[in-house]
Amino acid sequence: MNIQVKFFAQLKEKLGCGELTLSFPSESVTVSEVKSALSSKGSVWQKSLADGHVLMAVNHDLVVESFSVEDGDEVAFFPPVTGG
């Protein structure tokens, strides 16, 4: 299965990446597994995503790490929000 992954704000700057596609052999993975796959891309990725403050969303809803991701889903990682 393939998923789209997006990054925003300081996380996007640190990673030098706003968006990428990830492929997994299984039909479903958890957000935590998505994080692990991204972390294997290098130490900056590992360190940036290990930050406990990083928020996660699937298909535009905030989720926790155990949330299940399926083919075609859009996953996003971003720092705590500062609007308003």
Binding site: H53, A57, H60, L62, A76, F78, V81, T82, G83, G84
Partner: protein, 147 residues
């Protein structure tokens, strides 16, 4: 109504939308957030607002819905600007009409508190020393405890 836009907004126009042909609501509360010149210890000259298109609108609509389930409010307008802003520019507008003021005041504060925590906007401030991302504050997180 939820709007995310680069353009500025006009309080008088928004007040008109909340009140025209609306005889049932005796209370209208509006809130406007602006860019201030000093934040987190540094002089600010401007800021850029990044957001997550699609999720931003969905998050704000969800917050509006939660407020409507909780209080007898009728018309709700949430406008949030994105892009480059200068000092004193307007950033965010929340306007609510309701038969009574208690609901309108409470729902306005509720929407701002949740917007500050759940809507994917990020501020990058420009100062004389350069640019930096604004840090999220614990007090904004703590504000949710009262709801």
């Amino acid at each position: 109504m939820v709007v995310v836009q680069e353009a500025d907004f006009d309080l008088a126009v928004e007040y008109q939308k909340l009140t025209e042909n609306n005889a049932q609501d005796g209370a209208v509360v509006t809130f406007i957030g602006r860019v201030r010149d000093f934040n987190q210890g540094q002089g600010v000259t401007g800021l850029t607002l990044e957001h997550y298109p699609g999720m931003t609108e969905k998050a704000l609509k969800g917050i509006e819905q939660k407020a409507k389930e909780r209080w007898p409010i009728n018309r709700v307008t949430i406008i949030h600007r994105v892009g480059s802003l200068k000092i004193c520019d307007q950033i965010v507008f929340v306007g609510i009409s309701s038969p009574h003021r208690e609901s309108a005041f409470a729902a306005t504060e509720f929407i701002m508190d949740y917007l500050k925590n759940d809507a994917p906007f990020w501020k990058k401030e420009t100062t004389k020393q350069g640019c930096h991302w604004v840090e999220a504050q614990q007090k904004d997180k703590d504000a949710l405890k009262k709801w």
